[in-house]
Symmetry: C2
Subunit: 385 residues, 2 copies
């Protein structure tokens, strides 16, 4: 397959966009990415979205957006993998260009969650879990993460305050990201006193939902050589893996096996090791997920993911910079769009556009997007050259 | 890209499967396809589904099914394009194998519509239309097709009875398909006296929903040479195109431009013309769609699609055999599964397994799957050799 590059990126601010419709949000990111790529047409559109059927009463979203953007007649593909929908659509776009089926792909992750015509958001998000064997028992998504976090604390002897660095780092970095949902510094005292949602997960352990879209233009690498004034960002690896959908079916609910599998596969494709990664946008939907992701991807031993935060290694100046633009926690988590925000942010890092939260000399970045409680995991490694 | 072949097919009967869950239906077709292909593992799973988030409260369906089938760790991808979800997933699977990313793909189209935990089915189906500009005005999916059919009759001078052959042919063929939902002969009298749904669309113009799943195993063509006793079925073309999502945005609502574009593109890839097609499984969600599909794909001049029925050219012995296993009309239309039923039926024809409705000497078959009112259209051409 051909080597492919990311020619352009675009995003909307994440918030409650009462003044913009679903198509307008998706279009805003799409047009921004095409402007950034200096192109005005693409061969096909790939859309990542989880909740538009439920919350916006809209299916067939790829064609819906292609229509709005003006890509009539072009192929349009919507991919859904719960909160990993964005990266799943990205992988579909990469594959089509790499295979030579098309010469350019626009990928848009989009979600409008705050202005619902249909379902309640908590009920809608629960569709990522097992409807028959988890949700029927009354477990919400926060509830599942609370069970995992409680067990982790019990097994490995951590206390709730030990997770604070994940939240503090994410909020600190988001202060410098104009697209982030939350611009608010957090300290350990606020973290510990935050309102409880589902013990031990409190409000500052959980990421906020929101409306937003992020997009990228993918082309064959040889067509991406001529963009002036910035390094070329190429795809070094793309991998996807799955686990059981229900947490209770796993041998070890404290190990994200699909994250491990997809990262391992992706390292192999890219020909690198975990320690070669300069910046890692992980899927911190809940603070426990930061710890588990760091462990599954080889940055920390089992049960020791929180230590990286406590030892101040996760900031942009640390050994394993994560959530450099705010992560899901503070940039916000418009679920089906999140995977594309992560890609956009890695590209910004590799281009050196992150100012206060720039990771010095970042050449290799990884983004990992998780659907459900670790059921679908996509890992992407990008390089600047 | 590599040439790919269909190594195995499987399907469930279409009906009201109160005794089977969504995962059981999907698994039944998946296991049947793997048995037919004489394999017990695949590299990745592609799932086409439209309504599980709405009707079954289940998202992330590809991982959900991979878990049930026992494909842990494998990649799983769900594609949604309204009623074209099945063929859209099929195309994703073809692309992955053709590109060399994987060596085998299992594609499952699945839908469980009659045992709802969530939405009403009519409201759920309406999510295929434009939520803002069609559905908000109170137009249902049947309503949109009724407006198109009314206009077609007015413009081209046909009367309602002229559409009867489409329904009569589909029901006649379904009599010989054990997987079909309806086993009931129809005549012109019953067609004309059937209960009105949305004038001029009556109950016998419309296809029935249902629960069902259909599946196929895709491998590189060179690995499909050794199946004894049946011809090899290879992919000769795959193409996808889109149109505006809202019918009122089209210059001509009586021309399925995306069907035309995707068929034209597919003929080009396969190096054939419409007249080379031996059997055509078209998307007869409503009888008007049969006429428009025949016209868009080059089998009849504009406004003359119904003539093929009236001249008895659409039966298995005719010049353009369509709906040879019952079509959407009588085999049934479990929406996200339909595209895969069409593929399975074309493979059955090319293998010569259709008995009473076998098209003599069928060597080239085409399947066309439509999402929305012609908004997303996928065309696939298969050949036996």
């Amino acid at each position: 397959m051909r080597k492919v590059a990311i020619l352009g990126i675009g995003q909307t601010a994440i918030g409650e966009h009462w003044d913009k419709s679903l198509r307008e949000i998706g279009g805003e990111a799409a047009f921004a990415a095409m402007r950034d790529a200096s192109i005005d047409k693409v061969d096909a559109l790939y859309v990542g979205n989880m909740l538009s059927p439920l919350i916006d009463s809209q299916n067939q979203l790829a064609t819906f957006l292609a229509d709005w953007i003006g890509l009539w007649r072009q192929e349009a593909v919507k991919v859904e993998a719960a909160c990993a929908s964005g990266a799943a659509a990205f992988r579909a776009g990469i594959m089509a260009v790499a295979a030579g089926e098309i010469d350019s792909a626009l990928v848009v992750g989009v979600e409008k969650m705050t202005d619902k015509s249909g379902h309640d958001v908590t009920a809608a998000l629960a569709t990522a879990a097992d409807a028959d064997y988890e949700v029927e028992q009354g477990v919400s998504f926060v509830g599942l993460n609370a069970l995992i976090m409680q067990r982790y604390m019990y097994e490995f002897g951590w206390k709730h305050a030990d997770f604070a660095p994940f939240t503090i780092n994410a909020h600190s970095n988001a202060m410098h990201n104009p697209f982030a949902r939350l611009h608010e510094k957090i300290n350990i005292d606020r973290f510990e006193k935050s309102v409880m949602v589902a013990a031990p997960v409190n409000l500052l352990d959980a990421s906020p939902i929101g409306d937003g879209a992020a997009a990228a233009v993918i082309v064959p690498a040889e067509k991406a050589t001529s963009m002036p004034g910035r390094p070329r960002v190429i795809m070094a690896g793309s991998a996807s893996a799955t686990d059981t959908i229900a947490v209770h079916s796993r041998k070890d609910p404290l190990f994200l096996d699909a994250a491990y599998q997809s990262a391992k596969h992706c390292y192999g494709i890219a020909g690198i090791k975990a320690e070669d990664i300069d910046v890692f946008e992980l899927h911190d939907a809940f603070s426990i997920m930061s710890a588990l992701s760091l462990e599954a991807c080889g940055f920390a031993p089992r049960g020791q993911g929180v230590r990286l935060g406590l030892e101040n290694e996760i900031s942009p100046k640390g050994r394993v910079p994560i959530c450099t633009r705010g992560g899901l926690k503070a940039r916000g988590h418009p679920v089906g769009a999140t995977g594309m925000y992560q890609i956009v942010e890695i590209v910004q890092q590799l281009r050196g556009e992150c100012e206060e939260t720039q990771v010095d000399g970042a050449k290799i970045g990884m983004a990992q997007n998780i659907g459900g409680s670790g059921a679908t995991v996509l890992t992407h490694i990008l390089k600047s050259e």
